[in-house]
Amino acid sequence: MKTKKRDLIKYKDGNLYCELADIWIDPSKPVKRALITHAHFDHFTFGCEEYLSTKETAILIKKRIGDNVNIKVFDYGDEFKVNGINISFHPSGHILGSSQIRFIFAEEKWLITGDFKLQKDETCKKYEIVKTDYLISECTFGLPIFKWDETRKIAINISNWITNSPDKTSLLFCYSLGKAQRLLNEISKINFEGNIYSHDSIHKMNNCYRELGIYIKNTMKIENKKNIDELKGNLILLPPSLSKGSYLKNFKNIQTAFASGWMSIRALRNRSGYDKGFAISDHADWDGILEVVKKSEAKNVFFHHGDSEALSKYLSEKEAINVLIFEK
């Protein structure tokens, strides 16, 4: 009788966990030791005794929540040992500092992609192809209907959207960390002549990116929300949370848009409540996920963060790749 081999990484209480190292990956509740793939808040939780991340991720986290947090930092590619397991961070191309995490134990390699994208983005390191035996990949956009346009094309569309309504202030909602900086970087490369303003939360992140050596176009901070109506023909970047409450009701001469991968679907665009949607994402599209799965040379693949049914079936049928499901 075969004894069942224990998986190095498993799913426990809704989180990825490596039992041998007693270490959690992006845990959603306080634990002793946590590996953090990147500085977005849905991947970070307060109250862990010790965090491990890349240098950039640590700086971004501290900028957002303060210095009172114990983070051990590593460079990309540096291997370190926890309970005999070799662990290393590798660029995932999602945002500045974002990483994949590789585990090696008894010559068996496991790779967690974290959130990732393959598209060009000058505000962070390019996704690194890492070979592995077991791959744990995100699949937020795991359907072939998702195919991202070149970022430059999106930037031009945004610019046209603004210049075609010169008597309106254009409010573009986007995540304040990562997406906003990528957009600013991209817009600075095309011929957009209006001014760009950003909300305080975005402004803070812009400065942090600059300190870390990333070129981000200079933007003015929105100090007083009352003057938004007067900023006709200009662009203001705001975090999506502000689109929900009463904030927008103060303004008359505005048009709104949301920058997100989900905006590629008309029904979601129409339902979003924004005037316009720009389909730009920091996650991989269908082709991106397939490419990573193939190039990683993994024999076994797990998916999380998304509806993986179709993707799993496709890979097993078309590519003869073994897709596994985590035991819950």
């Binding site: 209907i145 029904a267 979601l268 049928e317």
Partner: protein
């Protein structure tokens, strides 16, 4: 003009929320394009009888065959997107079908007057190749337009009203005139567009067309403050609203949906032709129970309207009646600017005159709407609540001093509907929505108790707020018992108040009943499934009427 311009217009109209903006966009579009393309644009945007060249299902199968995409993967994508034309557009992008191919620019006119009509002449194999070729040679920005026109699903947030307004603005003419010109069939041609934007008003040209319909608003409590004597009260019949037009001796029956339905009701044409005068009457077409002098259910009317040439036996089995509400034109005189009470007076006068002429054979098929005379508002309420007894939906309240304008103008007519019937039912199945509701579970099935079993009695998909829809969608995903394709059977836990207008026996349904216009009126989170109503309670509602 290349198809690009039209595709750009679609993107503009689809993303811009303000009405004024859309009017401006349309106006500029009409100004800068050829009359023939403008004509097709109007045809597509008003959605009048847009032809479906192939079905969405067909197009998905074709794509799957041509590009070797698994069928099930297309279906999964469809669940997320909710529109076959768009699924294929997004997948084509992934296929990069247009890469390395010669790009072929076509005009909207070319597409609609040549390429698409030719499709139906081809055999199956040629047809597939032709569609594939268009996919591969058309610029990417036109794929959605092409697929949507092909599947007859071209719908944007543009109403006929918006087209009317933009053309009225373009040539600086009264909206009412444009609305009238747009009534009835719109056959795209250079002349059709030129007629639409003609600055000279020639009433003769409008001869075969119905007037734009005046529509009733929902009742407002503030009416209670007005004197009851200012209003005329009519029963609100549940049939087909029509204009019956006789001009220069020729009769036509136009529905509110601007369809000419002469062929479905030959007996009405025959009998009304015996009247000498010309007229335009606004009224309701119903299937009528002549023995009890009461309207038959709308389901009987459906059996008539779907037949293009009903046999004598069908005509006898489902006898129709035309009940006139209003007189809009008499012997070429437009009466719409006359106040309602005077129009009613004339309607009664002429009806009496027509009725008593022995050569007119109209007594069995034509009557005018009986008026109701409540003494006060409390009285009006009790009339309204009695409306189920005569198979009407309530009352229509009309301002006696109003003129007959068009559209849903405020302060002229109101519908005063009888309160709906209600039952508390348990949610048992959910199905993925399409179109705007793609990717969410928004089609729900509800059940009532019979002994210890829950029996499905109605499906509904309206009534919840967007926030509730999202919340329920999440609950559905976490409480699915089984999946059958797009349908999920659910844990029996949630109770909803379901409202509906009518209830009747139905052999087709397991529950034995069918309800009309079921919708959700409340999410009864306070109720357990044991508190839900039983089928017996539904039968009791039926007996009450």
């Amino acid at each position: 003009m290349s198809l690009n311009k039209f595709s750009e217009l679609f993107v503009d109209l689809d993303s811009n929320n303000s009405t004024n903006n859309k009017i401006e966009v349309l106006k500029n579009y009409f100004l800068s394009n050829e009359p023939i393309d403008n004509s097709w644009t109007i045809y597509l945007l008003t959605g009048k009888n847009n032809k479906r060249f192939v079905s969405g299902r067909y197009l998905r199968d074709l794509f799957s065959e041509v590009y070797g995409y698994p069928q099930w993967l297309m279906d999964t994508c469809y669940l997320k997107v909710g529109d076959s034309a768009e699924v294929i557009t997004l997948l084509l992008k992934n296929k990069n079908a247009s890469l390395n191919k010669k790009i072929n620019k076509i005009s909207l006119n070319e597409l609609l007057s040549k390429i698409l009509p030719e499709l139906s002449k081809l055999n199956e194999e040629e047809k597939k190749l032709r569609i594939k070729k268009v996919w591969e040679t058309l610029p990417e920005a036109n794929h959605l337009t092409f697929n949507k026109i092909l599947t007859g699903t071209f719908r944007v947030g543009v109403s006929v009203g918006l087209i009317t307004k933009s053309i009225a603005k373009l040539i600086n003419i009264d909206e009412e005139i444009i609305a009238h010109r747009l009534m009835g069939d719109f056959k795209p041609s250079i002349n059709a567009y030129k007629f639409l934007v003609n600055r000279n008003i020639n009433l003769e040209e409008l001869n075969s067309k119905p007037f734009p319909f005046l529509l009733a608003n929902t009742f407002e409590d503030k009416i209670f403050k007005a004197s009851i004597n200012d209003f005329q009260f009519e029963w609100k019949y549940d049939g087909i609203r029509i204009q019956l037009i006789k001009r220069s001796g020729n009769l036509s029956i136009w529905t509110r949906g601007q369809e000419l339905v002469n062929k479905s009701f030959p007996e009405l044409i025959e009998k009304m032709s015996t009247i000498k005068d010309d007229f335009v009457l606004d009224g309701e077409l119903l299937v009528w129970n002549f023995k009890d002098q009461i309207a038959m259910d709308f389901s009987y009317m459906q059996k008539r309207i779907n037949r293009k040439s009903p046999t004598k036996s069908i005509q006898k089995k489902y006898p129709i009646i035309f009940i006139a509400y209003d007189l809009l034109e008499l012997n070429g005189m437009d009466k719409r600017d006359i106040k309602l009470d005077k129009r009613r007076f004339e309607l009664e006068k002429y009806f009496t005159k027509w009725q008593y002429k022995p050569e007119n054979k109209i007594s069995e098929i034509f009557k005018i709407c009986d008026l109701v005379y409540p003494k006060n508002w409390a009285d009006a309420l009790s009339y309204k609540n009695k409306s189920r007894e005569n198979n009407t939906e309530g009352l229509i309240i009309k301002n006696k001093s109003s003129i007959y304008t068009s559209g849903r103008k405020k302060g002229i007519w109101w519908k005063y509907k009888v309160d709906p019937m209600q039952l508390d039912a348990v949610l048992i199945y959910a199905k993925g929505g399409s179109g705007r509701r793609a990717g969410l579970y928004t089609d729900y099935s509800f059940a009532l108790w019979k002994d210890k079993e829950l029996i499905k009695f109605a499906s509904a998909y309206s009534g919840l707020t967007n926030i509730e829809i999202k919340e329920l969608d999440k609950w559905i995903r976490n409480n699915t018992i089984e999946k059958f394709g797009p349908v999920r059977s659910l844990k029996q836990e949630m109770v909803f108040e379901i409202s509906f207008e009518k209830i009747q026996i139905s052999k087709r349904h397991k529950s034995g009943i069918a309800v009309r216009f079921p919708r959700i009126t409340k999410w009864r989170k306070d109720k357990k499934i044991n508190d839900a109503d039983s089928l017996d309670n539904a039968y009791k509602l039926m007996r009450k009427i």
